[in-house]
C-alpha cells in the first residue's frame, strides 16, 4: 500500500476501520466503547438536529435569518453558540481524563493510552481554538459595533466567512470523533512526534487542517475588528473615549493579525512534511524541530493575551456597571492593555526554557515574562479601585468578576514562579504547569466570557437570565475550579508528569480524587448555565427589559432597545466624552427623539460565507483522508462563490426612514411610559430596562 496510491482511489485512506463503531465491534473494551459512544453521539446529534429542523420547518429560517446573515449581532451570537457546543464536548473530555487519572493509580483505568492521548489533544485544541476563540470573537462581534456607535463591522461579508471557516474547523474536530481518529500530539502538535514517522494515521492531519481553517478565520477576524475600531467609530468617539472593552478588542485584533500567521505557517509547513516529504521539522536532511517550537510559541504566547484581554475588557465593563461608577484609571488601563500587547511578543521562549539555551537567554526571557505582570497587576488594582466609593451589587456577572480577581492573582503568582527558569526546570511539563494555565484561563478567560454572556444577554435577547441559576452556576464554577486545580499544583510539585494515562505513585491518589470531584463540579457549572438558559427562556415574558438598560450602565450599547434593531442606531449618535450614555442620563438627555430620520442602508444576506466554509471543510476532509478528487473539488468550490460574488451588484438593501421612525417611536414611547427601576430591584421583574437615576452623591 504505497503512500501516493491513496490519492487516486475513490475513498483515499478511508476504510471501515476508520469508524469507531467497527473498532468497538472488533475489540469491545471500555475504552473503545467510550469512543464509539462519543462517535454515536455526534452522529445521533447531527440526525436529531436535522430531524428537529425538518419537523419544525426551521430550515428556511435557519438559513434566511442566521447562516446567511451578515448582521454582526447574529454572527456574534452564532460564534457564542459554537463556543457553547464545543465547550460542552471539551469539558466532558476533561472530566473523563480526570476520572481516568483518579482510577489509574497502579491500575489500568477505563481509557486506553492511545485514547487518552486523543482526549488531551482534542481537549486542548477545542478549548483554545473552538471554545475560547469563538466565544471572545462572538462577544467582540456583538458588542464592539454597538459600543462605538456603528451599524455593522467594517467588512460584514468577511465576518461571515471568518465565522464559517472557524465553524468548519470545529466541524472537522467533531467529524474526527465519528470518522477516524484525532492527533495524539497535544494542542501544540510538536514534531517530530506529529510527523509521518511517528503518527502515520489521519490524526495529526485532522489537527492540522482544523487549526488551519480556524487560524485563517482568526486572522480575518482580527483585520475586521481592527478596521472596525479604527474606521467605524461614531462622530466624537475618539480612541480615548472608547469603552475599555473596545480597547481590549482592538489590542486582541492587533495580536490576531500579527500572531496568527506564524501558526498558519507552522501548520502549513508541518503539512508539507507530512504530505510531500519535506523535512522542515524532521532532523534528517537539515530540518529542525526547534523551528516549529519557536514558530508555534511565537503564535502561542500572544495567543494567551488574545484570549485574556477581551475578558479583561468584560470585567472592566461589568465592575464599572455593577459599582455604578466610572472605571478607575481608564487611561492607565488602556496603556496597560497596549503594553501587554507589545510585551506579549517578547516572551515566547519561556515555553521551552528547558530546551538547552544559555543561561543568559533564559534569564532575559524570564525577566521579560515577569515584566508583563506589572501592567497586569495595574489592571487588577484598577478594578479594585473602581469598586472604591461605588455601590456594588453582587449580581452573577459581578460575582464572576470578583472571583476572577482573587483567583487570577493566584495564577499570576505561579506564573511568576514559572517565569524564573530554575523553578521552571523542576515544574515544567508537570501538572503544576497544567494547574497554572488553567488558573489563568478559567478565571481569566472563561469567567470573563460567562460574565460577558450574563451581562449582555438581556441586550441581545431582550430578557434577563435567571439570577438564581446564575449564582448556582457561579458556585459550581468557582468551587469546582479550586477543587480541580489546587491539587494539581501539589501533584506537580510532587513531580507528576502531565498527560499521564496511568500513574505509579500511590501518594498521588487522594489529590487526584479531589481533582476529579472538582471536575464534576465544573461540569455541574456548565449544566447550570444550560438550565439557566432553559429556565430563562421559559420565563422570558416576566423578565423582559425592552427599554434596554437593565444594569444602569454607561456605554452606547445600552442606549438602544433590547434587542437592538438590525441597524443598531436609528440615528448615529454623537459623543463628547467617555461613558456617553451615563452622561446623557445624568444630563436628562437620554431617550430623546431625534430631529429627523434617514433611510438606512444595510448589507443584504449572502451565501458566500456558508459556501466557503462548507467547501473549505470538504477540501480539508479530502486532504485528511487523501481523497484526491474531493480535495480538488473542495478547493475549487471555495473560489466559485468568491468569484461569483464579485459580479453581484445588488449587495445592499435600504430600510426606509418611515420604518426606522416607526420602530424608534414605539421604543421611545415605551421608554417614556414604563416605571424606572432602582438598583435594589434590578434583578426583579419590575426591571423593564429603564434605570432610575441614582441618588446624589453620599458625603464621605
Amino acid at each position: 500500500m504505497s503512500e501516493g496510491g491513496h490519492w487516486l482511489t475513490l475513498f483515499g485512506r478511508l476504510n471501515l476501520r476508520a469508524f469507531p463503531f467497527v473498532r468497538a465491534w472488533e475489540d469491545p473494551t471500555v475504552s473503545e466503547l467510550i469512543g464509539a459512544f462519543a462517535g454515536a453521539l455526534v452522529v445521533v446529534g447531527a440526525f436529531a438536529l436535522v430531524a428537529l429542523l425538518t419537523w419544525q420547518r426551521w430550515w428556511g429560517r435557519l438559513f434566511r435569518d442566521w447562516l446567511t446573515s451578515l448582521d454582526h449581532k447574529k454572527i456574534g451570537i452564532m460564534y457564542v453558540v459554537l463556543a457553547g457546543v464545543m465547550l460542552s464536548r471539551a469539558l466532558v473530555e476533561a472530566v473523563l481524563m480526570r476520572a481516568q487519572q483518579s482510577l489509574a493509580v497502579d491500575a489500568p483505568g477505563i481509557v486506553a493510552p492511545e485514547h487518552f492521548a486523543q482526549l488531551f489533544s482534542t481537549h486542548g485544541t477545542i478549548m483554545i481554538f473552538f471554545m475560547a476563540m469563538p466565544f471572545l470573537t462572538g462577544l467582540i462581534n456583538y458588542v464592539v459595533p454597538l459600543q462605538i456607535g456603528a451599524r455593522d463591522v467594517a467588512f460584514p461579508l468577511l465576518n461571515s466567512i471568518s465565522l464559517m471557516l472557524t465553524a468548519g474547523g470545529a466541524g472537522l474536530v467533531m467529524i474526527s470523533l465519528a470518522v477516524g481518529e484525532f492527533s495524539t500530539g497535544g494542542w501544540s502538535g510538536y514534531p517530530p512526534y506529529t510527523g509521518k514517522a511517528f503518527q502515520p494515521g489521519v490524526g495529526p492531519d485532522y489537527w492540522i487542517w482544523a487549526i488551519t481553517l480556524a487560524s485563517l478565520g482568526t486572522t480575518m477576524s482580527g483585520i475586521n475588528i481592527a478596521a472596525t475600531v479604527y474606521k467605524k467609530r461614531c462622530p466624537g468617539l475618539h480612541l480615548t473615549r472608547m469603552p475599555l472593552f473596545c480597547w481590549t478588542a482592538l489590542c486582541t485584533a492587533i495580536l490576531m493579525i500579527f500572531a496568527t500567521p506564524p501558526l498558519t505557517l507552522a501548520t502549513a509547513l508541518l503539512a508539507l512534511d507530512r504530505y510531500l516529504d519535506f523535512h522542515v521539522f524532521t532532523n534528517d536532511l537539515g530540518g529542525n524541530m526547534m523551528n516549529y517550537v519557536n514558530l508555534f510559541w511565537l503564535f502561542g504566547h500572544p495567543e494567551v493575551y488574545i484570549l485574556i484581554l477581551p475578558a479583561f475588557g468584560v470585567f472592566s465593563e461589568v465592575i464599572s456597571a455593577f459599582s455604578s461608577k466610572e472605571l478607575y484609571g481608564y487611561k492607565s488601563l488602556a496603556v496597560a492593555t497596549m503594553a501587554i500587547g507589545v510585551l506579549s511578543f517578547t516572551v515566547w521562549l519561556h515555553h521551552f526554557f528547558t530546551m538547552g539555551q544559555s543561561a543568559d537567554v533564559n534569564a532575559v526571557f524570564g525577566i521579560a515574562t515577569m515584566t508583563i505582570s506589572i501592567p497586569t497587576g495595574v489592571k487588577i488594582y484598577n478594578w479594585i479601585w473602581t469598586m472604591f466609593r461605588g455601590e456594588v451589587r453582587f449580581t452573577a456577572p459581578m460575582l464572576f468578576a470578583l472571583a476572577f480577581i482573587v483567583t487570577f492573582v493566584l495564577g499570576g503568582l505561579t506564573g511568576i514562579m514559572l517565569a524564573i527558569p530554575p523553578i521552571d526546570y523542576v515544574v515544567h511539563n508537570t501538572v503544576f504547569l497544567v494547574a497554572h494555565f488553567h488558573n489563568m484561563l478559567i478565571p481569566g478567560l472563561l469567567y470573563g466570557m460567562i460574565a460577558g454572556y450574563l451581562y449582555w444577554f438581556p441586550k441581545a435577547f431582550g430578557f434577563r437570565l435567571s439570577e438564581v441559576w446564575g449564582k448556582i452556576a457561579f458556585g459550581c464554577w468557582v468551587s469546582g475550579f479550586y477543587l480541580a486545580f489546587m491539587p494539581l499544583y501539589v501533584l506537580g510539585l510532587g513531580g507528576m508528569a502531565r498527560r499521564s494515562q496511568a500513574l505509579f505513585e500511590p501518594d498521588y491518589r487522594p489529590w487526584l480524587l479531589v481533582a476529579v470531584c472538582g471536575a464534576f463540579l465544573l461540569l455541574a457549572g456548565l449544566v447550570s448555565l444550560f438550565v439557566q438558559l432553559w429556565v430563562s427562556v421559559r420565563d422570558r415574558d416576566v423578565n423582559r427589559v425592552p427599554v434596554g438598560d437593565p444594569w444602569d450602565a454607561r456605554s452606547l450599547e445600552w442606549s438602544v432597545s433590547a434587542p437592538p434593531p438590525e441597524y443598531n442606531f436609528a440615528t448615529i449618535p454623537q459623543v463628547d466624552r467617555l461613558d456617553p450614555f451615563y452622561w446623557r442620563k445624568e444630563r436628562g438627555e437620554a431617550y430623546r427623539r431625534p430631529e429627523r430620520y434617514d433611510d438606512i442602508v444595510m448589507p443584504r444576506n449572502s451565501w458566500v460565507g456558508p459556501l466557503v466554509g462548507l467547501t473549505a471543510t470538504v477540501c480539508a476532509f479530502g486532504l485528511v483522508w487523501h481523497i484526491g478528487w474531493l480535495s480538488i473539488l473542495g478547493f475549487l468550490g471555495i473560489w466559485i462563490p468568491v468569484v461569483a460574488r464579485s459580479f453581484v451588484r445588488d449587495i445592499h438593501r435600504t430600510i426606509p426612514a418611515s420604518e426606522v421612525e416607526a420602530t424608534d417611536r414605539r421604543w421611545l414611547d415605551r421608554a417614556h411610559t414604563v416605571q424606572p427601576v432602582p438598583r435594589e430591584r434590578e434583578t426583579e421583574p419590575a426591571n423593564l430596562g429603564l434605570a432610575r437615576p441614582f441618588p446624589p452623591q453620599v458625603p464621605v
Binding site: 492607565s332 538547552g356 482573587v406 514562579m417 515544567h428 510532587g494 513531580g495 502531565r498 498527560r499 453620599v698
Partner: protein
C-alpha cells in the same frame, strides 16, 4: 539539608543576609503549606530535595513564595473589603460615581509591583546562572560522565569511562557530581529526576547537558515528562545514588552480565516498546553515542547545545 556536610559547594555566593531571608522564607512557606500536611506527595518532588541543585532550587522557590505574599496579600484583602464595604445595601458608605483617577494612587499602583519585579529579576538573573543545567558542579571529585539516550519508551545510559551501559537504571556514587550528555534516538523527550535537579530536553541529532548530584545514597524516580506516545506513562527509570562500594559492584555486575551493546542490540532497543526490567550491558561498542547522534544529524544546526560549558 546538612549543606556543610557535602564534599562540594555550589558557587552561588550567598551572603548571610541572603541566607537568613531564605530561612525566613522557607519557614513561612512551610507554614503556608502546613494545611497540606502529611502530604508525603511533596516529598516526591523538588521540595523533597536530595541533591544540591534541587536543594538550591527549593531555597529559591521558598524565597519567591515569600516575596509573592506581598503581591497577593493586598489584592486578596482589598477585593473582599471594598466589595463588601461599598455594597449597595450599606447606606453609610461614600459614593463618588465620577471619581476615576488620582496621581498618588496611580504611583502606588505602578511603583511597588515594579520594585518587586526588579527584586525578583535580580534573583532570577543570579540563580538562572547559578543553576544553569550546563554548569558543572564544583566538587573535589571529578564528575561521572554519562551519555543518556532517550528512546521510546525507555532511557539508555552509556558510561563511556567504564565502558558499560544500562537501560532504565541510572546508577552513580552519591556525593559525586554527574555530568549527563543527552540526545534522543526518537522524538523529543524531557529528562527529569524531580528530587535531584531540573529537567532538560533530549533531542535527536543534538546534545544537551545536565549536571546533578545526590547528597546521600538513595533510590529516586526519574521520568520523561514530554509526551511521546502510548508508552509514555510507563517511561520511568530508577536513579540509584550509591555508596562507592555499591557503585563499584554495580559496574562489576554489569560487566559480569556479559551483554554487549552493539549497533544490533541498539537497534532492538530503539524499537518502540515498554521496558519491563532494567538491563545492564557489560560492554559498549566504541563511538555508539556519536553514531546515534549522527543518525539524526540536522546538519547546520548541529552546533546547538555546544555553547557551554
Amino acid at each position: 539539608m546538612p549543606e556543610t556536610a557535602l564534599p562540594y559547594t555550589l558557587s552561588v555566593g550567598r551572603g548571610s543576609w541572603d541566607r537568613s531571608v531564605a530561612r525566613l522564607a522557607s519557614s513561612s512557606a512551610v507554614f503556608a503549606l502546613l494545611p497540606l500536611g502529611g502530604c508525603s506527595v511533596l516529598d516526591h518532588g523538588m521540595l523533597g530535595a536530595a541533591g544540591p541543585i534541587a536543594d538550591q532550587t527549593r531555597s529559591l522557590f521558598l524565597l519567591v513564595c515569600a516575596i509573592l505574599v506581598f503581591v497577593a496579600a493586598p489584592v486578596l484583602l482589598l477585593t473582599p473589603i471594598f466589595a463588601w464595604h461599598y455594597r449597595l445595601s450599606n447606606t453609610k458608605s461614600a459614593y463618588r460615581p465620577q471619581w476615576g483617577f488620582n496621581w498618588p494612587l496611580e504611583g502606588l499602583i505602578w511603583i511597588p509591583p515594579t520594585i518587586i519585579v526588579v527584586v525578583l529579576a535580580v534573583f532570577l538573573w543570579r540563580d538562572t546562572h547559578a543553576l544553569d543545567p550546563y554548569k558543572p558542579l564544583a566538587s573535589r571529585h571529578s564528575p561521572i560522565e554519562v551519555q543518556a539516550v532517550a528512546l521510546d519508551w525507555k532511557w539508555l545510559f552509556i558510561y563511556p569511562e567504564e565502558g558499560v551501559a544500562s537501560v532504565d537504571e541510572l546508577a552513580f556514587p552519591a556525593g559525586r557530581p554527574v555530568c549527563l550528555t543527552l540526545t534522543s534516538g526518537t522524538v523529543m523527550q524531557s529528562f527529569f529526576v524531580p528530587r535531584l535537579a531540573g529537567q532538560i530536553y533530549a533531542m535527536a541529532g543534538m546534545t544537551t547537558q545536565l549536571n546533578l548530584a545526590a547528597d546521600a545514597p538513595g533510590r529516586f524516580r526519574g521520568e520523561n515528562t514530554q509526551f511521546n506516545g502510548t508508552g509514555f506513562q510507563n517511561q520511568k527509570f530508577a536513579v540509584l545514588a550509591q555508596s562507592d562500594d555499591d557503585y563499584a559492584s554495580w559496574i562489576a555486575r554489569a560487566r559480569a552480565g556479559g551483554r554487549t551493546l552493539d549497533p544490533a542490540a541498539y537497534a532492538v532497543l530503539a524499537t518502540r516498546s515498554i521496558q519491563a526490567e532494567p538491563i545492564l550491558f557489560g560492554s559498549v561498542a566504541p563511538g555508539l553515542f556519536r553514531s546515534i547522534l549522527g543518525q539524526n544529524d540536522p546538519g547546520l544546526h548541529a552546533a546547538h547545545g555546544h555553547h557551554a560549558p
